[in-house]
């Protein structure tokens, strides 16, 4: 059964673009959610849209499920090959086809790295606004699949707001061209494909909206003795009518790890640091900075420092973006969660995280895109201790259920993948989910793309039960 599949794939793509040896396949058995693993039957590396379409047709003939994958930085198991099948790697499709400065748009292949695009745009005065922390590794196709965000979404919006159109391959191998011009005579299929985690179509090219670089920045590092004061200050800045470019919270636990890694000199006894960035024309920035300073002082800020030059600003952002990686110094294993609450509920949810941490005896450290109400609590545990694993999972679940109770959601930018399928029924009513199923059936009638992801279904894997085989790590 599998032999004819790989044979057909090789015939289509050439032997060097198809992997089927066990040792090779192991590399693709999971993504950033390392706790779950499944082996694919084959991994393919198409170089063109036509090849992707042909692979889809072959898989359809062989009834093999398909997982489209970029860099595999998903933290929600979006790239897990459930039921085996074929992993379609889009990393060879990495051409920047067109940069149109006059119209502020670019056409790129799905495998282009977020950072590669940023570098290619140097000197144009334009940039692609979504800047997830994984931007050195993640691909634009992956950004589209998860509707990726990042710190600067506070002012600039998420990937959806920066995608003008896509080229996509449907489950039957049909190629669709959507955009880049807005089209009144059509449904916004591009808007539906963004964030659909590869379960509706395989996006092969993306029309990107480019954003002008701001003329200037003010980047502040505000230190608070109390976490409560920090989250209240953030909530007040939003309510005051200022829209900073970014407003990022890091708590004491994560600061210790970051400091150990980068020796940035964060005060060890402060409960929180908030990085606030303002951008735009220089003339207006000092006034905004002064208003923010005043709000922070009202909430007992201990210290407010301003990055004095581009180098200091870059270092501050490096600390923030490498923060999660630095957690490896604190714990053998960790799980980064992604939840979102209405922005005024930030102080509440941050307090709940502390309570939940105590309740389950699981250490939790925090980073947050706080201006958006998007929290990233990082749960620390030892994967070798089954009891700890269970407690960490239970703590994570309680936290997300709390986000739902606050009127929020279980993911702001990482996606549902397989990790959060079980929470979909808490977040949406049965008929809401039924309508999503109908949309999936309209795009992907056979269900072969992204099998078992996003929506509850018989294919959705039962995850992380007590028998999870962590012992061999």
């Amino acid at each position: 059964m599998k032999k004819p599949l790989t044979r057909d794939l090789r015939r289509c793509l050439g032997a060097t673009s198809v992997l089927s040896e066990l040792g090779d396949l192991r590399v693709y058995d999971c993504d950033g959610l390392t706790i779950e693993k499944r082996l694919p039957d084959a991994v393919v590396f198409p170089a063109t849209t036509e090849q992707v379409a042909e692979v889809v047709r072959i898989c359809s003939r062989h009834d093999a499920p398909i997982v489209a994958r970029g860099a595999g930085t998903s933290l929600a198991g979006g790239c897990l090959p459930i039921g085996g099948g074929v992993v379609v790697m889009l990393t060879r499709m990495k051409r920047i086809i067109e940069v149109n400065v006059a119209d502020r748009m670019a056409l790129v292949e799905a495998g282009v790295l977020n950072l590669q695009l940023a570098r290619a745009l140097t000197g144009t005065g334009l940039h692609f606004a979504p800047d997830p922390s994984s931007q050195i590794a993640c691909t634009i196709g992956g950004n589209v699949a998860t509707n990726a965000g990042g710190p600067h979404t506070l002012k600039y919006g998420v990937t959806l707001n920066h995608v003008l159109g896509v080229e996509a391959v449907l489950g039957d191998g049909t190629v669709m061209q959507l955009g880049p011009l807005g089209d009144r005579a059509a449904l916004d299929l591009t808007g539906v494909l963004v964030g659909s985690e590869g379960t509706l179509a395989i996006v092969t090219r993306v029309w990107i909206r480019l954003t002008p670089n701001p003329q200037d920045y003010r980047t502040l590092r505000v230190t608070f003795d109390s976490l409560d004061d920090a989250s209240n200050a953030i909530s007040d800045v939003i309510a005051s009518g200022i829209v900073p470019a970014a407003m990022e919270l890091m708590d004491q636990g994560i600061l210790a790890a970051v400091d150990e890694a980068f020796q940035f000199g964060f005060p060890a006894d402060a409960e929180a640091v908030v990085v606030i960035e303002l951008d735009g024309p220089s003339v207006g920035l000092d006034e905004q900075r002064d208003r923010i300073t005043e709000i922070c002082n009202r909430h007992q800020a201990r210290e407010i420092l301003q990055a004095s030059d581009a180098q200091q600003r870059a270092l501050l952002w490096k600390c923030r973006k490498m923060a999660v990686g630095a957690v490896g110094r604190l714990s053998p294993s960790y799980c980064i969660q992604d939840g979102v609450v209405p922005r005024t509920k930030l102080p509440h949810i941050i307090r709940r995280i502390t309570e939940i941490s105590a309740k389950y005896s699981i250490r939790i450290v925090n980073v947050a895109h706080a201006g958006d109400g998007n929290i990233h609590p990082i749960l620390l545990f030892d994967e070798r201790d089954a009891d700890q694993v269970q407690r960490a999972l239970a703590a994570g679940k309680e936290l997300l259920e709390d986000c739902i109770r606050c009127g929020g959601s279980v993911t702001a930018e990482h996606g549902i993948g397989i990790e959060k399928i079980s929470l979909m029924e808490s977040l949406f009513a049965p008929y809401d989910l039924k309508m999503m199923e109908k949309v999936r059936d309209a795009f992907n009638p056979g269900g072969g793309l992204g099998l078992g992801k996003v929506l509850p279904s018989p294919h959705a894997p039962t995850l992380l039960h007590a028998a999870v085989s962590i012992g061999d790590v």
Binding site: L181, R184, L189, G284, G407, G408, S409
Partner: protein, 410 residues
């Protein structure tokens, strides 16, 4: 009142969201068409309904559901008027930066369903960028919710985006949650009378590549705004600026320098009353006057922003009397032609051909009802993706009762 668009249909007014579901469920059982209508400001968009049914008036469904202003979000029922929404938000110095003509009639649900916007779209975007979630009744009379009430949400498929611009053909919108923005401290205009339409080309190019980030870049040809300082000019460019006062003053300086470099005079307007009047004028300019409907063809032409002037020149060649409102930063041109009903179809074909030569598209947004333009003339030829759209339509509206024949679907 609606007989020219929905001949032979009865009208039902609803005041509660649950009634919408009841009415649609009954219509589903009888396979009788439902034509949802909000403020009735965009009924010119879409073909004349082929079958009699029920016109479902939603304007009484107008309650504010929740306004946590410190979260910068608001949830309202779909029949709330845009002017009422604006009033509610302005009490907290907030706003939804989507300009819609006839805001005292247009409803939130209608604006979503018809994907309306105005001059501010250049800086602030469209409904797509502000809508967080919806409650909708599908073609079987069952209610579902999409998205949520938070500003970032990656859970499940984005059915919210699917509903924007779906013109009531996938469901009847009963409630919407929107992200809102603080009202900027100051708003002002730089107005540039142009000796020729072509002269706009180099000025727009220099504005687009400058550090200026205007809220609007509107080029008006033909019919002029009441506030136009020089109605003798061939065209007028309105550069709308919004931000803190200090930034607006800086942008005024920069804009005037860029105009001077092109040898063009620029008029500053910063008196709040006049500025408000210009925003209103640019927004209302888009509406076809009811007394002119019988002899007016209105189209929306979309091209790459850098081709806006070239497209405007082509339209002007067809008819030097035509009126154009170009959102030059977005490549969107609204054009009105005086036109006898019997000539409308042929004129659309010619305009569409010209647009396609420039890589653009054309949709008819209003036409003399007597001309009975068909769907393909109004919306243009569909691409292969129509198959997916038709499958979605069948899933959401299995009996085809929602606004049949008006949008791209049968």
């Amino acid at each position: 009142m609606f007989d020219s668009i929905f001949p032979g249909s009865e009208t039902i007014q609803v005041a509660h969201q649950s009634e919408v579901a009841e009415v649609v469920a009954a219509a589903y059982a009888q396979q009788r068409p439902i034509y949802p209508v909000g403020g009735a400001t965009s009924l010119g968009l879409g073909a004349v309904a082929g079958k009699p049914g029920t016109v479902l008036r939603l304007a009484k469904l107008n309650q504010r559901v929740d306004y946590p202003s410190r979260d910068l979000t608001i949830t309202v029922e779909a029949g709330m008027k845009m002017a009422e929404l604006a009033k509610c938000l302005s009490a907290e110095q907030q706003r939804l930066p989507i300009d819609v003509a006839s805001a005292e009639s247009a409803t939130v649900g209608g604006v979503v369903a018809a994907n309306l916007c105005g001059p501010r779209r250049y800086r602030y975007g469209t409904v797509r960028d502000y809508l967080l979630g919806l409650t909708v009744v599908d073609g079987t009379g069952q209610s579902f919710s999409t998205g949520g009430r938070v500003v970032k949400n990656a859970a499940g498929y984005d059915l919210t985006r699917l509903m924007i611009g779906s013109l009531g053909a996938l469901g009847v919108i009963t409630q919407a949650t929107l992200m809102v923005r603080p009202v900027p401290e100051m708003s002002a205009f730089v107005v540039v009378p142009l000796p020729s339409l072509e002269k706009a080309e180099s000025l727009l190019a220099s504005l687009r590549t400058s550090e200026l980030e205007p809220a609007a870049l509107s080029l008006v040809v033909g019919d002029r705004l009441a506030d136009d300082p020089d109605r003798g000019a061939a065209a007028t460019l309105w550069i709308g600026l919004e931000s803190s006062e200090i930034e607006v003053r800086w942008m005024l300086d920069l804009a005037s320098r860029l105009c001077r470099e092109q040898g063009l005079p620029a008029v500053f307007i910063d008196a709040p009353d006049r500025v408000a009047s210009i925003w209103r004028g640019l927004t209302e300019h888009a509406a076809v006057r009811p007394d002119q409907r019988a002899a007016t063809l209105a189209v929306e032409l979309t091209v790459l922003p850098s081709r806006t002037v070239a497209a405007a020149v082509r339209l002007h060649q067809f008819d030097p009397q035509a009126s154009l409102l170009c959102q030059a930063g977005n490549g969107v041109i609204l054009a009105w032609f005086s036109c006898k009903p019997e000539n409308a179809g042929e004129l659309v074909t010619r305009i569409r051909k010209a647009a396609e030569e420039l890589g653009g598209r054309v949709v008819v947004t209003d036409f003399p009802p007597e001309s009975r333009l068909d769907r393909s003339t109004i919306w243009g030829p569909p691409g292969p993706e129509i198959r997916v759209m038709q499958r979605i339509k069948r899933q959401f509206d299995p009996e085809g009762i929602l606004n049949p024949g008006r949008f791209i679907f049968e």
